[in-house]
């Protein structure tokens, strides 16, 4: 039982970071129908930038974290300016290909600057575990889950009630109609990419804190997030949250119980198996938007 609970908790923690990165993915998809394959690189870059600032300039962690977020926001704006604006009016698939290329470039840049070795992370969270019932839980886990929940809540409210949030949904529906309302589609895209880069960076830093180090494997999160968002429904914030948590737990449980039986590797495949199973029942994902058809 204790083993199960341990797996469950670490699954939820990883899942909450999936949810965060998934949120970034969904925001970009919602406003521009682009699948951003560089999402995992945003996470990795965020983690590296933060640790670099702390390490080389002896800046306190919180300040470094704030700088990282600003950097990520700027990165998002730059992406729009340099990559997306020239692609306005081009087919979506071309832009998606572009994000694939971008992911390679970012990975190369990170490796070029920081190398391929694992870089140790500063101790962000207190190391003494907190007892929840009989179970010792690391404080890092609790901080991560709490900050993820707060962020996710904020963005749900943002999308539902703020004008910029509604405008993002409007742009997702039709860029042309959004333009006819006087909505600047360019600004909306820049905003979407900024938010996506920022939430991914938060995920990266949290993950670095939990694992105690950052390396190139962080970029794999981008790949893992794809089943997460497809499971939840590509255009649903709630879907990203639920999808992330479900995948995290599923991955950990199957890893914990099935790996010893089958000789390992189940952890990596389990999300994709679940994805296929769920999509064959619900093609739009769990919370995906079904296209409205008037009869």
């Amino acid at each position: 039982m204790e083993f199960f609970l341990q797996l469950l908790i670490s699954g939820l923690v990883i899942g909450s970071i999936y949810a965060l990165v998934g949120l970034g993915f969904v925001i970009i998809y919602k406003s521009s129908s682009i699948l951003n394959f560089a999402q995992g690189e945003f996470l990795m870059l965020g983690a590296y930038v933060c640790v670099a600032i702390v390490g080389t300039h002896k800046v306190p962690f919180l300040a470094a974290f704030a700088i990282t977020l600003c950097f990520s926001a700027l990165l998002g704006v730059l992406m729009e300016r340099l990559l997306l604006r020239p692609m306005i009016g081009e087919p979506v698939i071309s832009v998606i290909m572009l994000t694939l290329g971008l992911s390679s470039v970012l990975k190369a840049v990170v490796q070029g600057i920081w190398g391929t070795d694992t870089r140790p992370y500063p101790e962000i969270f207190p190391t003494t575990p907190v007892m929840i019932g009989p179970l010792p839980v690391s404080q890092g886990y609790l901080y991560s889950v709490a900050s993820v929940l707060v962020l996710l809540g904020l963005f749900s409210v943002f999308f539902k009630y703020s004008r910029a949030g509604i405008a993002m949904r409007a742009t997702a529906f039709s860029q042309q109609v959004a333009l006819s309302m006087g909505i600047s589609v360019k600004h909306i895209f820049a905003l979407a990419w900024s938010i996506a880069a920022v939430v991914s960076a938060v995920g990266g830093v949290l993950l670095g804190g939990i694992r105690g180090g950052v390396d190139g494997a962080f970029a794999l999160f981008g790949l893992k997030v794809i089943p997460v968002v497809i499971l939840g429904g590509l255009d649903s914030v709630l879907g990203a949250i639920v999808g992330g948590l479900v995948m995290g737990v599923l991955e950990n449980l199957s890893g914990g119980y099935l790996d010893p039986l089958l000789g390992g590797g189940v952890k990596e495949v389990a999300p994709f198996i679940a994805l296929v199973a769920i999509l064959s029942i619900k093609p739009y994902g769990l919370f995906g938007k079904v296209k409205i058809e008037r009869v």
Partner: protein
């Protein structure tokens, strides 16, 4: 207020759609732009609103002036801020936003909270049915309600000029009458200028002050709405009436058919 002079529009670098079109919309009036399918009416509106850019179209010659300033080449979102709002053909409401959110988006370019609140109330008085459905997704509204919503969105921007593209498309005659009545009322009460594109010439000329008839990317006829209404050609081709209908005259018959269908 709005002057188009010898405007030429080319799509995809090769297809010439407007061939030197000139027209004038005076402040506070309703001007009807009539013509058959493919005459270039919608293109004219998109050239004014700047939405042409999104469809690979380009104004290659001539000038478009609004309140004395050139607006050809200005980005569409900027044109909205200058006071021109296009209600696109086929209503084009944001289907997965609620009615209320659609209306909020109409006022996107404005920041005066008090004014926005007042205008929200105003559109709900013009269209009480929208108020009843304000929490529902716009995609589930009927066609007439969507058209009302599309016009409401335009009103929320407080534009000086509304470009209204075929508001009667696919609606029952009674509803069309209601919507045209409200357009007239808005013109009277809010002093908003309209440039109205319509297939239903009779109806359009019944509320318009002035009319233009387009064929093949050019203006072929213009005049007071009253005068156009009594013009024999207009009657024959565009209203389905006309004296002494003769189906022997196949060419005319075909043209009329094309108009009405």
């Amino acid at each position: 207020m709005l002057h188009l002079k010898n405007v030429e529009v080319i799509y995809d670098d090769v297809i010439l759609v407007l061939k030197g079109l000139s027209l004038h919309v005076p402040e506070g009036k309703i001007v009807a732009l009539l013509g058959s399918n493919g005459a270039g009416k919608s293109t004219t509106l998109k050239a004014i609103s700047g939405l042409l850019h999104t469809e690979e179209g380009e104004v290659t010659d001539g000038t478009i002036e609004f309140q004395g300033q050139r607006i050809d080449g200005v980005a569409p979102e900027q044109i909205v801020r200058r006071g021109i709002f296009q209600v696109m053909e086929g209503r084009r409401v944001f289907e997965d936003l609620t009615v209320e959110e659609n209306i909020v988006m109409g006022g996107y370019t404005r920041n005066d909270r008090a004014g926005l609140r007042r205008d929200t109330e105003m559109v709900y008085t013009y269209f009480p049915r929208l108020h009843e459905r304000r929490k529902r997704l716009a995609g589930y509204l009927s066609g007439g309600e969507q058209q009302m919503l599309a016009i409401s969105r335009a009103l929320m921007a407080r534009p000086k000029l509304i470009l209204l593209d075929e508001p009667s498309l696919g609606l029952a005659p009674l509803l069309v009458k209601e919507i045209f009545g409200i357009v007239k009322r808005i013109n009277d009460e809010e002093k908003t200028t309209f440039l109205l594109v319509e297939q239903n010439a009779n109806l359009a000329l019944s509320i318009a002050h002035h009319g233009y008839v387009m064929e093949n990317g050019r203006i072929v006829l213009e005049g007071d709405a009253e005068k156009l209404r009594s013009n024999e050609d207009v009657k024959e081709f565009y209203m389905g009436g006309g004296a002494g209908k003769s189906y022997k005259n196949l060419k005319f018959y075909k043209r009329r058919k094309r108009w009405l269908s």
